[in-house]
Amino acid sequence: MDKKNVRGFLEFVYDFYKSMKAHEITLVYEGEITHQITKAFTSLTESNMAKEEESNTVQKKVFHVMVECLQNISKHADSFGSDDFLFAGRGIFMVSKGDIEYHVTTGNVIENAKIEELTRILDHINVLDKEGLKQLYKTQMREGRLSEKGGAGLGFIDIARKTGRKLEFHFLSIDEENSFFILTSTISRTE
């Protein structure tokens, strides 16, 4: 790096640091989500929460949500028919911690063709109340099939049940083929 680039890079690092602080981000990762990564992140967050004497209930909820979010990326981030595609099983994963709640955010590339179906599934979950979610989970467990990658179609329902909130999701258009799918789950620290 020449001098000008070094300067630019240092500024980027500092801005990135400030931005993480501003958004109270305690963990951020971009890349392939493997089982090892899932284990490392959940145990890191678990020990942090234990150190901060977070209640058992909150710890369990955060753990549940993290596992399901990470597995969503590893199983669904698009591979575009090829395993070595740049975005296969990859995405961004963030945990932030504010005074009253935790946020677990994931972002990954998906094909535009899948948006409609995904939106339908998520909207359906979002209209259900506690009892409705419970029934849907039971039905899906009984009737759903495990996909090749081990997905049971239960992750989103479980996140909605564990957080007690609507699933908050957005699609940012990338180009004619792809979009970026963002899901934020919020876990209250006070309940």
Partner: protein, 127 residues
Amino acid sequence: MNTIKIMGTDDTPTVILDAENEVFEISGRSLPEDVTAFYEPIIRWLDDYASNPNTKTIFTFKLVYFNTASSKLLLDILMKLEQMHEDGKDMLIRWYYPEDDEDMQEAGEEYADIVDVPFEQVSYTLN
């Protein structure tokens, strides 16, 4: 009949299936990298056991955490036990949950709703 003894890890449960000593237990944490591969031998063992089960079978679940993919496989196991019950065998499920863990208690209730087999909920204190 052979026995299954799998020691638990931080992502796989302890599994003991020992007909001779009448121990049938799944406990700990379940989020295996490959759930199907992990539970397949257990399901197969139950298929074998179903052909000649003990007079009474008490199956213990004592899990502290399982992911959604595991929940599906746990139901598959429970349905094997339900089948034995339907075939007239004496079966009992004991579902243990930490006393402060409503979600684990509720998970037990949900399974009890789905499968038709005697089902006992037992709370315990975590040390």
